[in-house]
Symmetry: C2
Subunit: 214 residues, 2 copies
């Protein structure tokens, strides 16, 4: 009937055996889906489709949806923030400049697309998954707090800061970055925050507050 040789029915895509590459691809697909829809509403079939495989294949590499979720959340947070402690240890400029550097790095890191996906998942699902919350508490909060405390102590020792409610609760200093991430998670489609602009205002605030004796 037809002159051209057509593929008549289903075009069955050829299989490929890629034992090594699969887990990472599945995790990447899962990350995207979980960040978009949340854990409960994510369908493993969609994750599979995004990874170019079939649902059953996921189960060769992960025991359950929850196992995949945890694997996805464990991937690549640590590395992103690894460089920070050194920066602080080696620094010899003013306290304000050090804080400025820290905050700038935070914006750079948190707005890396893959890190942003992770952040969205933690923001949306952290409450429902105590194990996840605990993991991130150790990995991010603990370390971040250490760094901040060290900076504050250094500033007090150098006479650039005075003891105050702020130096006792320095987490307040990073409030605006957190707000920017959350904002962009919720209102990205309506009115996204432009990180550079927000960073500039954030640094302006910190300079006004801490930058007298540079």
């Amino acid at each position: 009937m037809s002159m051209v040789e057509t593929t008549p029915e289903k075009t069955a895509k050829p299989r490929r055996r890629r034992k090594e590459a699969r887990p990472q691809e599945i995790i990447a697909a899962g990350l995207a889906e979980f960040a978009e829809r949340g854990f409960a509403a994510t369908r493993l079939e969609d994750v599979a489709a995004r990874a170019g495989i079939v649902k059953g294949t996921i189960y060769r590499y992960f025991d359950s949806k929850e196992t995949l979720f945890e694997a996805a959340l464990s991937s690549g947070i640590g590395p992103a923030f690894e460089a920070l402690p050194e920066i602080v240890a080696d620094y010899d400029g003013s306290t304000f400049d050090l804080i400025r550097l820290l905050i700038s790095r935070l914006y750079e890191t948190l707005f890396i697309p893959e890190v942003e996906l992770l952040a969205r998942i933690i923001i949306s699902e952290g409450h429902r998954f105590p194990a996840v919350a605990e993991l991130y508490y150790r990995l991010l909060v603990g370390k971040g707090r250490d760094i901040l405390r060290r900076i504050i102590e250094r500033g007090l020792a150098r006479g650039e800061l005075l003891p105050s409610p702020l130096s006792a609760t320095p987490e307040v200093l990073i409030g605006p970055v957190v707000m920017a991430i959350v904002w962009n998670t919720i209102f990205d489609r309506l009115d996204p925050i432009e990180p550079r602009r927000f960073l500039e205002a954030h640094l302006d605030l910190l300079e006004k507050a801490l930058g007298r004796n540079g």
Copy 2:
């Protein structure tokens, strides 16, 4: 056999017809469940149980799970923040004192338990529900921004502030409150933020930044 008259099998709780009270009770129950488990993972049967009714009854008052969700989210945000615009309009003290007042009110309001439930839902589900995001964008963001802008303009006019990146993006000023809410959503079980303490540090930061010429 027994001397006391026991209720032998199922103690069928007596029905009560309470057409007026039901919707609010269902919404309150839904709010609690949605905030705890998220939209997708919340079971209407649990909502019903919490409201002291049976699943079918929910459908006498709401067309679907999503309708209930939207009703819950529409309840009681507006009222919570209604007082703010007046405060600004009537104020005649320094700009810093006005900002101090605004921020204090924000903490008071956001940590009201019912408001906190709403905040949790928005934080967790805002991204998945564009209609919800839009609603809150209008109700909260729009109004909040107006108030902030008015304060900044007033400060500039009175010579208490100077044009700067911060005055162009004053949202940065409320970053720490947002962070506190998000923090308590995720890490409430591990290391909750004590609002008063955080507020104190937040105000300390703002005073250092803006409070020179009080």
